[in-house]
């Protein structure tokens, strides 16, 4: 460590958090390979719970605010050393890591339990649980890594597990392709991470995150002015890939091809928030670059808006939730861009609960409907699945920001920060929040209200207790998790703020933007207005869609402006604004064309031509020579005689 005033505490506890799931993965995937999916699930769940216990011990030991400027390291081993570059495999506890640890292992364990029941009919399900445990290993490495390379290892690891799990049912081409899409899109983002690593290594000479934080903006201001923004934008680019922001969000909706518990764990609660987490870890650097934060801010708002707009018309229940995830992630990036890492991380935490809850709830519905995901074929499920219904209500309330649920606190915090950056972003973000209320109530009403619209919906059955218990626990979290960080005038907890501020190893982060003070009365008024708006929209959506009958249903857009005016918009939204098609046109096709051209010109004509040419010339010359080999013994005798005659002539010439 460069600065000597920082006290370092060493421990050996942190490695166990990673080792338990690793052990679980090895046991399940290599040693046991159990036939019974249930048993494999129990092994995996035990591993996950052990990691949770270890995480819990770590959190109780160091808490959410490290005193003064002490650093907690698990100095595990030296990973590699080459010249001036040394990359130790050290794990580090920071308060924000503590929060992430609890989320990853806690919600992870719940989802493991849920999966035991959800995957019970699966043959060879041990593969699934191996991947789940492996995902925990990677995610925990990402959370605990003390330098960018270790974090990158986890970063790639979660990407790999995501790919494996999206394509878990790989016999369907569609699923396999979704997996590849996720993997490739993430690779495009990872390039940014690598560039960032190289820049930091080249200019700062260290990759230890806390050392970078300590070097701080003063150090980088002595360097060429593009270095720090470039490195940070690289990190942000990587985050848009992993955390599904525009323009790299396209993989996340397709990732819903994976089993639903995976969608809940990886593509809603944990992995997709890692981009935000990494940015918060190096926040002192980000805070010194308002221009970079502006980019983050607007990308976040745009994504929140676009994804919400798409979610309005989707009919697949998981697709709605997927776009909602993209939208909520946009909220988090907006908070980052507004200079409020604590608000972003707070939303990460609350979102992890209610989105995992919603996904597991939808999984319960899908399970009860025998793998039907189309909401148009659902309806009236409230009677058949009472428990699932109520947990879904709680999840929906939390995500739209119903007063005093967890989403209410985190979303209002973000909205308040957006307001301090101006009216326009605030209005945009508020619209996105209103759209959230609309599409969530739409999904809720279409699924649970009205009359059953298919046989499957008519005969849907409630899921097993093993699936309902996690739903219950997550409901409690979704309801009450918000109280750990409340608005200032409520005088409640400020856990997030203290946790975030003591996570930089004693380094200070400047305020990137001028503080915008709002009076307490104004704040209360604003919150009341927002709540009223949200509830109004929610009620309208509920009212409209509870009468949903696929045949004669008129959507609100059609009601407002007439069917012909609304049709293009509905069509565009249903087709996801043709972003996939645009990418296909701009990137995929030219690439395919280029690779096709290279294939024909370089490979077929050039390399193959050379090789085939060699073969052909040999063929040709040997063809000529083989003409002499008639196979007739007398021809050979002729050659012999002729040879002898020539020899005789020569010998005669020499001798005589």
């Amino acid at each position: 460590m460069e600065s000597t005033d920082v006290a370092i505490e060493t421990t050996q506890l942190l490695r166990w958090i990673i080792l338990f799931p690793l052990l679980g993965a090895i046991l399940n995937g290599i040693i046991l390979r159990l036939k019974s999916t249930k048993l494999a699930g129990i092994v995996a769940t035990a591993a996950s719970l052990a990691a949770f216990v270890a995480s819990f011990m770590a959190v109780t030991r160091w808490g959410f605010s490290l005193e003064g400027a002490s650093l907690v390291y698990d100095q595990w081993f030296m990973w590699f050393q080459s010249g001036k570059v040394s990359v130790p495999f050290w794990l580090e506890y920071t308060p924000i890591s503590g929060i992430m640890l609890l989320v990853v292992t806690g919600i992870g364990s719940l989802i493991h339990i849920y999966s035991i029941s959800y995957m019970e009919k699966e043959v060879g399900g041990y593969r699934f649980f191996t991947y789940l445990n492996l995902f925990l290993v990677a995610m925990l490495t990402l959370v605990l890594g003390s330098n960018l390379v270790t974090v990158f290892l986890g970063w790639e690891g979660v990407g790999l597990c995501s790919y494996l799990l999206i394509g878990y049912w790989f016999t369907k081409t569609e699923n396999a392709q979704a997996g590849m899409k996720a993997f490739i899109t993430n690779r495009i983002g990872d390039l940014g991470f690598l560039i960032s690593i190289f820049l930091f290594l080249a200019y700062a000479g260290t990759l230890q995150i806390q050392e970078l934080n300590h070097l701080g903006p003063q150090f980088f201001s002595a360097l060429p002015s593009w270095v720090l923004p470039a490195a940070l934008l690289g990190l942000f680019w990587a985050a848009t890939g992993k955390s599904a922001q525009f323009p790299l969000y396209v993989w996340l909706p397709d990732a819903m091809a994976g089993p639903t518990p995976v969608s809940a764990l990886i593509h809603a609660a944990t992995m997709v928030t890692s981009g935000i987490f990494v940015i918060v870890r190096v926040w002192p650097l980000f805070a010194s670059q308002p221009e970079v934060l502006n980019v983050v801010f607007w990308v976040g708002i745009f994504t929140a808006w676009l994804a919400a707009l798409i979610a309005l018309t989707q009919n697949d229940i998981k697709k709605v939730l997927a776009y909602s995830t993209v939208s909520q992630l946009g909220f988090m990036f907006t908070a980052l861009g507004a200079g409020a890492p604590e608000a972003a991380l707070f939303h990460v935490l609350t979102h992890a609960f209610f989105k995992a809850l919603l996904f597991l709830g939808s999984g319960s519905v899908i399970h009860g409907m025998h793998h039907e995901q189309d909401m148009r074929k659902m309806g009236g499920l409230a009677h058949h699945m009472k428990f699932t219904h109520w947990t879904f209500v709680i999840g929906t309330a939390a995500i739209i920001g119903f007063p005093f649920t967890s989403g209410f606190f985190s979303k209002d915090l973000i909205l308040a920060h957006a307001l301090s950056r101006g009216m326009v972003p605030y209005a945009l973000l508020l619209t996105a929040a209103l759209m959230t209320a609309f599409y969530m109530l739409r999904a809720y009403s279409m699924t649970f209200m009205g009359k059953p619209r298919s046989d499957a919906a008519d005969h849907a059955h409630e899921s097993s207790p093993l699936m309902l218990i996690p739903l219950g626990v997550l409901s409690i979290g979704s309801l009450f998790m918000g109280w750990i960080q409340t608005p200032h005038f409520m005088g409640g907890g400020h856990l997030m703020e203290t946790a975030v501020k003591s996570s930089w190893g004693g380094a200070e982060a400047m305020k990137p933007f001028a503080e915008h003070k709002i009076s307490v009365g104004g704040e209360i008024l604003m919150i009341l207005a927002v709540v009223a708006l949200i509830l109004g929209v929610a009620y309208y959506s509920f009212k409209v869609y509870r009468e949903f009958q696929s045949k004669k249903f008129i959507s609100p857009a059609e009601r407002a402006v007439g069917p012909t005016t609304a049709a293009p918009f509905i069509n565009a939204s249903q087709n996801k604004f043709f972003v996939d098609e645009a990418y296909d046109l701009i990137f995929v096709r030219p690439l395919r064309f280029l690779s096709g051209a290279f294939f024909r010109i370089v490979d077929e004509t050039g390399i193959n031509g050379l090789l085939h040419g060699m073969r052909k010339s040999l063929d040709f010359s040997s063809g000529i020579l083989s003409w002499a080999h008639t196979g007739n013994v007398q021809t050979y005798a002729w050659y012999l005689a002729a040879g002898a005659a020539i020899l005789l002539i020569f010998v005669g010439r020499v001798l005589l």
């Binding site: 003409w627 002499a628 080999h629 196979g631 007739n632 013994v633 007398q634 005798a637 002729w638 005689a641």
Partner: protein, 99 residues
């Protein structure tokens, strides 16, 4: 003693054998031509031996005749079985080793 006449006879016999081998299509005659060539060289061998005034050539000749007899018997039997399997002893009919 004048050995030239014997050597010339041996060469003439050899050349006759070569011409016979190269020109006739019947395997049997080709075989006979081969024998002719062999005996032409044998005659030369004895003549040279005589020319040098020792008897090694003569004894070698006896050995060669012996082996040649065995070889001729072998060649004839191959010819017979060739005829039995393919019904022909025409050399032009056997081109299995064509490249």
């Amino acid at each position: 003693m004048n050995t030239e006449i014997y050597i010339v006879t041996g060469v003439v016999l050899f050349v006759l054998g070569v011409i016979g081998f190269l020109s006739r299509r019947s395997a049997l005659i080709a075989l006979m031509s081969l024998e002719l060539m062999l005996n032409g060289t044998n005659l030369c061998l004895i003549s040279f031996s005589r020319f040098h005034g020792n008897s090694e050539g003569g004894s070698l000749f006896l050995l060669i005749v012996l082996v040649a007899a065995a070889e001729a018997a072998l060649a004839l039997s191959i010819l017979v079985s060739l005829y039995r399997t393919s019904g022909s002893v025409d050399l032009d009919d056997f081109r299995l080793l064509k490249g």
